[in-house]
Symmetry: C2
Subunit: 178 residues, 2 copies
């Protein structure tokens, strides 16, 4: 059975929406995802707000309250019948996210066993056939087939097979023997 | 550069000593590692104590206070000059251990970057050349070369290359081109 690794932030969980919500509220701003084509919030926010930007992520409740990216539950539940699904998330730069990410996965993706969660840093450690991820550098380190999941910050990236939403993920794997 | 994955419990951290300490104290027993040749504490403890045995592991402070297995720091620091060292620990069955394990690693193995921590379940996910682990089933799922790190419970296991202590780990890798 082929194995698919799936990244959490910006692929299963709408991390950007919550980050923007907290940023806009704290600084009375109205930054939208459309303002972030080809770049991260870090690049748009002034230097004297970088500390707060980081503090939002470190908050104990941040990763617990994220919205689910539409379609991810339905498509992953379907794919889990034909493929081995592992969740591979970068959690080590924000250690406070470890517990919240675990609980978020249990709540929203109960059909994936915790034994298939991988909390890691460098994704070159993953032994899998596919990786769905929004970060080009993660795909570059990965040895299997990478799929770049579209997010505002990666809209200008080239050189990777791209999926724009979960319907496209489903269509992609319709043509793959599990 | 070749990559070595290293398990934490019973390889870097003396999990058994702390588990025995709490068990013996709670039940006024004197079980020693020597009583556990070829089996786990789970198999020695009576049925009506299994819940407490598990509760010891779930305690927030358990994984934070473990002693370091002698030699692991020195040998890993040496090996990290010639090999890529990743820490690969089963943390998903005890989610309370996620934060404590992270902090324990930072405190005792500061020379290994958090980007090289992997908190996982099924170790077949690891892409590495070597895995040092005390659990035969982890080595069986691993696709590289496994090294069984001796612990009381695995003394009767056969079929794996075995290292009895960290000096033997060092000697083993003396003969490997990094």
């Amino acid at each position: 059975m082929l194995r698919i690794c799936v990244d959490m932030d910006e692929v299963m969980a709408d991390t950007l929406a919550e980050h923007l919500r907290r940023y806009n509220q704290a600084f009375d701003e109205q930054v939208t995802p459309e303002d972030l084509v080809g770049k991260g919030l870090w690049e748009v926010a002034p230097a004297d707000r970088q500390k707060e930007l980081r503090a939002f992520l470190d908050a104990e409740d941040f990763f617990e309250v994220l919205d689910v990216i539409p379609g991810s539950q339905e498509v992953l539940e379907e794919l889990s019948k034909r493929f081995e699904i592992f969740i591979a998330t970068q959690a080590m730069t924000v250690p406070n996210s470890l517990g919240p990410k675990y609980r978020w996965l249990q709540r929203h993706f109960a059909f994936i066993p915790p034994q298939h969660y991988v909390f890691c840093g460098n994704k070159s450690i993953l032994r899998a056939d596919y990786l769905i991820d929004d970060l080009p550098r993660n795909l570059e380190r990965f040895t299997g087939q990478g799929l770049l999941y579209t997010a505002p910050h990666n809209l200008t990236a080239t050189g990777h097979a791209r999926v724009n939403n979960w319907l496209e993920v489903q269509t992609y794997f319709d043509h793959v023997q599990g």
